[in-house]
């Protein structure tokens, strides 16, 4: 696992400070690669620019299902780097409006863009750890908000980055504390998801570390840190649907049995069940349940399959008062079968 620092020559003075914080607050085995944008030749700049864009995408927290498209025309710009940024993508921020030459003609626009970014202060310096950007220059979001007429970009933390003044040591140190915490929380989450496919009571730290691409020391640190999370990783919720077979076109009461074998009282949760939008109707979408330690509960849903076959359904565990998924409770996938009557 590496950290990557993208910078201009003037930013080199903060490298030593970053190395110290990485070792002390994230993991002592992490090495820092410095990418001086101006030090590269044309093809090197292309690689660096492409990598930067991928890292910015990589910072989007997967659980948020947020889409951001960031694009670059770096290949065509010779010795200068320009970036185009599009916020947000595909399903949000649509608007209708006239378009330059095609005045009178309208179509949906799903992004904002700016194509003449003179200077790179908006994007550099920046720090990436574990294949995603984590630190970007302070004020980036504010500047992005001021550009273009579309929906504003999501706040930095929602898109997985922290804005920081790299020349303010106290601010940088505080950011690293948060990065370390988030990284370890994420590792616990990933380990829980991994374990859901490899049901066993023991974790082979070397194998799982290799799988997750982190040093075993960091994984051990993450597991030691929070006993309740550890308990949930080893004693995962189990879901079963009864009946698992329904008759096509017949409304059937499906009972979802949820077992909490852990010693953690999970309190009140909202259970969301969803299936494919075509071929299967599930009602209601959500029910609330209490899930004490060592308990099993049932949640009832009505299911109608409109064609025979197997259907994938998903069970999500949400906080009772928010739409966010509860930590350490991975999405459960189940299959039900629909058979034609007779």
């Amino acid at each position: 696992m590496d950290a990557e620092f993208f910078c201009l020559p003037d930013d080199m003075e903060v490298v030593g400070q970053l190395v110290r914080y990485l070792g002390r607050l994230v993991d002592p085995t992490i090495s820092l690669k410095v990418q001086d944008i101006e030090a590269n030749d044309y093809s090197g700049q292309y690689r660096t620019g492409s990598r930067y864009i991928q890292l910015l995408h990589g910072s989007i927290p997967p659980e948020r299902q947020l889409g951001i498209e960031v694009n670059t025309s770096i290949a065509l710009f010779g010795s200068r780097i320009y970036l185009r940024v599009y916020w947000p993508m595909l399903v949000q921020g649509y608007y209708w409006g006239p378009l330059g030459l095609s005045e009178g003609l309208y179509r949906t626009i799903d992004y904002r863009h700016f194509d003449r970014l003179h200077g790179l202060g908006l994007f550099l310096p920046a720090l990436a750890i574990r294949d995603r950007m984590v630190l970007v220059p302070k004020g980036q979001n504010k500047e992005l908000e001021s550009m273009g007429p579309n929906e504003p970009p999501p706040p930095p933390l929602e898109r997985g980055v922290i804005e920081v003044d790299f020349r303010n040591p106290a601010e940088v140190e505080q950011a690293f504390v948060r990065i370390g915490e988030e990284l370890r929380r994420e590792l616990r989450q990933e380990l829980a998801a991994y374990q859901s496919f490899h049901l066993s009571d023991e974790v082979d730290f070397d194998a799982v570390s290799a799988h997750l691409g982190v040093p075993p020391s960091l994984l051990r640190h993450a597991i030691r840190e929070e006993s309740s999370a550890r308990e949930l990783i080893y004693n995962q919720l189990r879901c079963t649907a009864e009946p698992a077979t329904v008759v096509t076109d017949v409304q059937t009461r499906m009972s979802l049995r949820i077992d909490n074998p852990s010693e953690i009282d999970l309190g009140r949760l909202r259970v969301q069940v969803r299936g494919p939008r075509s071929g299967l109707e599930i009602n209601p979408e959500r029910v609330s349940v209490e899930l004490p330690a060592g308990a099993s509960v049932r949640a009832d849903f009505s299911v109608v399959a409109t064609r025979p076959g197997e259907f994938a359904i998903e069970v999500l565990f949400l906080d009772a008062d928010a739409d966010a998924a509860r930590d350490m409770l991975p999405v459960q996938q189940l299959w039900i079968t629909s058979v034609a009557d007779g």
Partner: protein, 417 residues
Amino acid sequence: MSVSRVAFLSSEYPPHTYGGLGTVVEALSRFLGARGIEVVMLVPETGDYAAPPPGVSLCPVPVGLPVSDEDYWLTYCESAAATARRTGLRAGVVHYHDWMTALGGLAIGRALGVPVLMTIHLPQAAAYHLDLETIGITGCARVIVNSRAVRAELTEREVSQDKISVIPNGVDLARFRPGDQSPDPLEILFAGRLIPQKGPDVLVRAFGAVLRRHPEARLTIAGDGTQRLYLERLARFLGLRQQVRFLGWQSPGRLAELYRRCAVLAVPSLYEPFGLVALEAMASGRPVVVSRVGGLAEIVEDEVSGFAVEPGDHLDLATRLAALLSDPGLAGTMGLAARHRAERYDWRIIAGQTAGLYDSLASRPGPERAADLERLLLTAEAGLRERALALLVPEGRAGDQALAAGSCCERGQDNGR
């Protein structure tokens, strides 16, 4: 009148292909060449293109080091027109591809006094690109699009239906063919750029559900793009990283092998003008599960040669993918139907349709209206207007001066046809 030579203006030619455009241009020119139609391909000068096949010649266009994306393509267009003059280019038809080369194609067509066609591979949304695309559409005699879905998009933009010809992309049935060996019954393949438009994140989420039904299933992702690291992180987040293989960009030859080996190809695009990879996999005898969008919905017969699912619905996708993994017999039957369906898109047939269109335009000059072009140019951003006028208005011609002055005239009157 039969056209024997055509000038192509293309932003891509192998190995510099980024999306479908370069692949389509290479194949179309090759199959036109095989029909005896000489293709002169004006491409940006890079120095390392693949050797063209018989009947196709490359004419590199110097571009230099521009200051922006737009400047690059305007410079290309100016240089293409100059190159055509310098080399004494002759052609019965000029055919340009997408917005990047439109002004160059129009300029060369006007200089030669021959019909011009535009193929729109991917309709544009960004303002500047859309401006150039609109100029390209307005100035040409005919617009070729690869699906009825794209035609519908253009007609929403008030482009006349009469001006649009739907000619789908083709497939090379010799390269993409069923294999002798049985496919891997549990391998799902994705091939394409890793960008939001292609929906690879939808597929990774779907694969999580597929794994619960088929724990030995594997997902192979061939391609690269801005979402690659995000997708790797998503796979870890879902606990699937071991079962998802990221291969990066693959050559066409290697892709053909991957198609033959997989159980099913998933094409989860959120937007897709055509969907070339679906057609290639179908020609390879593999069933496909595609989003019900754009050209994909026209290529794939739902529940015959594959399944069509709701775009963005990962559980619908998972349901259909698992159905094919669960029933190799169904996968085999659909694979046969897919190959049969793909044969309709044989490049020899598609090149024949294109050649027929060239001939019809050559015998009946198109209704290009300089007045429309003039209106567009007069409202263009100043920098673009200046360079476009300089390109499209050769000095000393009465009709051109009228265009420059803002009065209306028919293009046919300009070139004396």
